[in-house]
Symmetry: C2
C-alpha cells in the first residue's frame, strides 16, 4: 500500500528498525525481567523459532548484549545470561552511586524549573505507590526519578553509562526493597534528595545519593542476590 515508487512522497518514512536491534531490545527485556533466569543457557534455535527469525540476527544481538555485559559467551558452547553474584551487584552499586552523585552535582548547576517540577511529580507518584504498597509501580517511579536526575546532569555520556550499568543490576535493585523497613527508609531518603535538589545544593545532593545507593547495597548484602520474582 505504500509502495508508490519514487514519485509520491519524498518524505523518508521512518525506516523500520533492523531485526537485530529489535532482538537486542527483546532479549534485554527478557533478561532484565528475569524471564530468562540469571545463569541460564540461551538456546539459539528455540529463540529463533520463537521470534520467527534466522540465527544470523539473533547471534548479532547476542554479541551486542555480551558487549553490554548482560550475556556471557562460551566459545563453541553457546551463550548464557550473565549470572549476577552478590559481589557484582555490590560493586556495581558502588559505581552507580558514584555516578549518581556526580550527576546530582552537575544537575544542581543547571536544573530548570520544568525539570524540577517533573521530578517532583514523579516523586509524588512514587509516594502514592508506596502508600498503596504497589511495589512494581513504586519501583518504576523510583527508577524514573533517578534516571531524570541523571538526565538533568546534561552529560549524555553519563546518562548512557548509567543506563547500561543500571540495567545490569535492575533485578537486584528491585529486590532491595523487598524488606518493608528498608522500603520506608528509602522513601525518607528520597524526601531528602528532592529537598536538596530543589535547593540546588549539589554537595548535599551528592552525599545523599551516594549514601542512598550505599544503603541499597547494605540491604542486599544480607539477602541472596536473586531473591526476586
Amino acid at each position: 500500500m505504500d509502495i508508490l515508487p519514487h514519485t509520491a512522497n519524498d518524505v523518508r518514512r521512518p525506516r523500520r528498525t533492523p531485526v537485530h536491534a529489535k532482538l537486542v531490545e527483546a532479549l534485554r527485556d527478557m533478561i532484565v525481567t528475569g524471564e530468562i533466569a540469571g545463569g541460564a543457557k540461551i538456546p539459539e534455535r528455540a529463540l529463533c523459532e520463537r521470534f520467527g527469525v534466522s540465527r544470523t540476527p539473533l547471534r548479532e544481538a547476542l554479541k551486542a548484549l555480551a558487549a553490554e555485559g548482560l550475556v556471557e559467551l562460551l566459545p563453541n558452547r553457546g551463550a548464557r545470561v550473565a549470572a549476577l553474584t552478590a559481589r557484582d551487584v555490590i560493586e556495581t552499586l558502588a559505581i552507580v552511586g558514584n555516578l549518581e552523585a556526580l550527576a546530582g552535582e552537575l544537575a544542581c548547576k543547571r536544573l530548570s524549573e520544568a525539570e524540577l517540577q517533573e521530578i517532583r511529580s514523579l516523586h509524588h507518584q512514587m509516594l502514592a505507590h508506596h502508600a498503596r504498597r504497589d511495589r512494581l509501580a513504586y519501583f518504576r517511579a523510583n527508577q524514573a526519578i533517578h534516571q531524570a536526575i541523571v538526565q538533568a546532569s546534561g552529560n549524555a555520556v553519563l546518562a548512557q553509562v548509567y543506563a547500561a550499568l543500571s540495567g545490569r543490576i535492575r533485578r537486584a535493585r528491585y529486590a532491595a526493597n523487598l524488606n518493608a523497613a528498608r522500603w520506608d527508609e528509602a522513601v525518607d531518603e528520597h524526601e531528602a534528595i528532592l529537598a536538596a535538589l530543589a535547593a540546588r545544593d549539589g554537595p548535599r545532593l551528592a552525599a545523599l545519593l551516594r549514601s542512598h545507593l550505599a544503603n541499597k547495597s547494605y540491604a542486599l548484602a544480607g539477602e541472596p542476590a536473586h531473591a526476586n520474582d
Copy 2:
C-alpha cells in the same frame, strides 16, 4: 591449509578464540590508534578481504563495538567510527575522573605494599620517559599507572567500566599532553598522586585524581579533539 581431519591430535588445544572476537580486538585497535579515522565509514567488504573472513563474523564484531559505543550503526547504510566531539571527550573525562576518584579511595583501603611498589616503579619509568620527552612511552606508563590504581580498588566492575570508557577517549587523552607546559604540570600532579597513595590518604587521592582529570579536560577544551598522531 590446516585441515588435518579429526584423527590427528586429541589434546584439547587451548580453544582458539573465535574469529568474531579477534575481529573485535583488531577493529578496536584500528579505531583507538586512529588507523580508521573518527567519523570514517567502515566498509564491510574491504575489511573482510583484508582479514580474510566472511561478512558474518565481521558484522557480529561491529554490533559488539556499537554496543561499546566505539561504532555507530546506520541502518541500511553501514557502520562508521563514532566521531568524538570535544563535548563527548569532556563529558567522558568528567566520568572517568569520578571513577578514578572512587577507585583511589577504595584502593587506599586495601593497597598492598607490592601493588604500591609496582605503581612506584611505573611512576619512575614515567618520569624517565618525561625527561627524555618520549611522548608515546610516557603515555603508556601514565595509562598503566591509572589502570593500576583502578585495579587496586579491587572492584572488578569498576575496572571494566573504566577500561571501556578510557578506551573510547584514548586518542584525545594522548593529545592532551601535546602542550609542553601542561605536560610538566601533569607530571607534578602525578607526584602528588603517588604521595597520597603511599600515605593511603583516600580523600586526598580522590581529590587529586579528580582535578588531574579535570585539568586534562581544560587542556583539551581549547584544542581540536583530533589533534593527534
